[in-house]
Symmetry: C12
Subunit: 76 residues, 12 copies
């Protein structure tokens, strides 16, 4: 990936609402596989960009998300 662009891309904000929230990065490309897993405990916040290695993100556990298309929580 061209270095000029990668620092400026959009990001999502994930706030864990319980211990053990899992954020799983899925690989971009022909095959979609897990390539990275991040664990968050209650109250931890992660701000993550899509990258050239990640084209999808899966979130397990109660969390609140801030995205370009609004807020969503699975704790409701």
């Amino acid at each position: 990936m061209n270095e000029d662009r990668k620092a400026g891309e959009d990001y999502i904000v994930i706030k864990a609402l319980e211990n053990g929230v899992t954020i799983i990065g899925l690989t971009r490309g022909k095959e979609t596989k897990f390539h990275h897993t991040e664990k968050l405990d209650r109250g931890e916040i992660m701000i993550a960009q899509f990258t050239e290695h990640t084209s999808a993100v899966k979130i397990r556990g109660r969390a609140e998300l801030l995205t370009r298309h609004g807020r969503v929580s699975n704790a409701e």
Copy 2:
């Protein structure tokens, strides 16, 4: 696909409202076939970009979506 652009594209947010929600990526190109399937359990959230391999996404099971054109749920 040029690496410069692929990290910055739009994404959709899918929140599963029951176990076994299926997200199916359909291939871009002359033939439209299934190329990837992702399973979500209740409360799991997936944030997914369109990619050079995927030009359509099909969602089975009760879910809430956040998209560029608003929110939609099939649980109503």
Copy 3:
């Protein structure tokens, strides 16, 4: 089609309101023919981009659409 652009184009969101909703892709170019058909059952959601092969989409059966120009349903 240049790979750089095809992942970032606009999309429409289609929610089936009954079984057997048919989404038909019509070919771009001098002749306009059916080139792909997708079936949705009640509650299934499809998010589809226009592609270099598709310049029109036809929807049969009760459905709700989210588009750049607003929402429309044929179930009203």
Copy 4:
């Protein structure tokens, strides 16, 4: 037409309010002739782009349209 642009152009949404709604594509260029006709039955929805072959569209029969400039219906 350059392939890069043609998937991303604007579209109109047409919902048929009766059987036999006819959507007629008129040719771009010096001569304006019919080049394609699509029939919609009641409740069918068509989402159509302008293309390099079509610079005007004519709609016969009761329908509702969603366009860049708002909604219009001939059933009022």
Copy 5:
């Protein structure tokens, strides 16, 4: 005209409010002449782009227009 641009340009929407509404395309260039005439019956809708051959459009008969600058009707 460069093919890249011509499918994406702005359009106007014309709804005929009586039979025999006439839409007349006037030629672009040094001389402004009629080059195409389209007839609409009551309720028919036409969506038309400006093209490299047309720089003005004249509408005769009762009609409603949707344009970039708002709606206008001559039936008021």
Copy 6:
């Protein structure tokens, strides 16, 4: 004029409120002369672009205009 741009430029909408409304195109360039005159009868609507030949338009007779800067009527 480069063909790429001329179909996409801004336009004005003129609705004649009486018979004999005259729309006069004035030439662009060092000398400003009449180069085209169009007559509208009551209720006729004209949608006209500025072109490489026209840099000013004069309207005689009662009419309503829709422009980028709002609506104006001389019938008030």
Copy 7:
């Protein structure tokens, strides 16, 4: 002036509120001189672009203007 740009530039709209409204184009460049005068009678409307020959416009007589910065009238 490059032909590509000159048809798409901004314009002002002038409605004469009395007979003999004078619109005077002043030359662009080192010397600012009158280069064109247009007379409007009551109710006549002129839509005029700035051009490569005109960098200022002077209006004499009662008139209403629509501009990018709002409306103004000297008849108040």
Copy 8:
């Protein structure tokens, strides 16, 4: 100045509220000198662009201005 840009630049609108309003163009460049003076009588309106020769404008006498940053009058 490149001819392509000079016709499309921003402008200010000045309405004279008394006789003898003076609009003075000041030269761009190392030295700031008067290079043009325009006199307006009561009710006269001037629409003026900045040019390659003018980087400041001074207004003497009671007037109302419309600018990009709002309206201002010295008659209050």
Copy 9:
């Protein structure tokens, strides 16, 4: 400075609220010095652009300013 850009830049509007308002242009570059002073009497208005010679402006005396960031007056 490239001539293409200098006529289109942003400007500030200064209205003198008393006699002897002083507008001082400070030089751009390593050293910041006075390079031009303009005097305004009560009610006079000056519209001034930043230029390649001026990167700061100082105003002495009671005045009202219109800027990109809003209005401000030192007479309050």
Copy 10:
């Protein structure tokens, strides 16, 4: 990374609501590892950009965030 862009990218604002708030930068690239840790005490504020070395940020401890997608706090 090209030096032209890196100073202008988006940033997030983090206000620590207790002592010992930890801000952890995760490496961009195939492997996602911790590469920098910053500690904030109660009331300290950090404003941080994504960089070519950081594609995700993790926050531990009670904090308030200001981001492009709104505000979020884990102290609620």
Copy 11:
């Protein structure tokens, strides 16, 4: 710095609310040092751009600021 851009950049507006307000320009680059100091008396207003020599500005004394991100005063 390229001359084309430097006249059009953003600016801040500073109004002194007491005598002796000091505006200090700090140098851009590896070392951040004072390079210019400007004194304002009560009511004086300064409009200042960032330049290639200044990447930070420090203000001492009671003042009101107008910036891209809103207004702020230290006199409250």
Copy 12:
């Protein structure tokens, strides 16, 4: 860094609410270290840009910030 861009980038505004507010610039690049510290006394305001040397800023002591994403104070 290219000189063309560095004067126009975004900035943050920091108002000290007590004596001894510290603004610490952290280095951009592989290693994140302190490279500059600025002290503000009560009421002093600093307006600072990100630069090619600074990718994060840390603020100690009671202060109010104006940023692209809104206002924040640690004095609440």
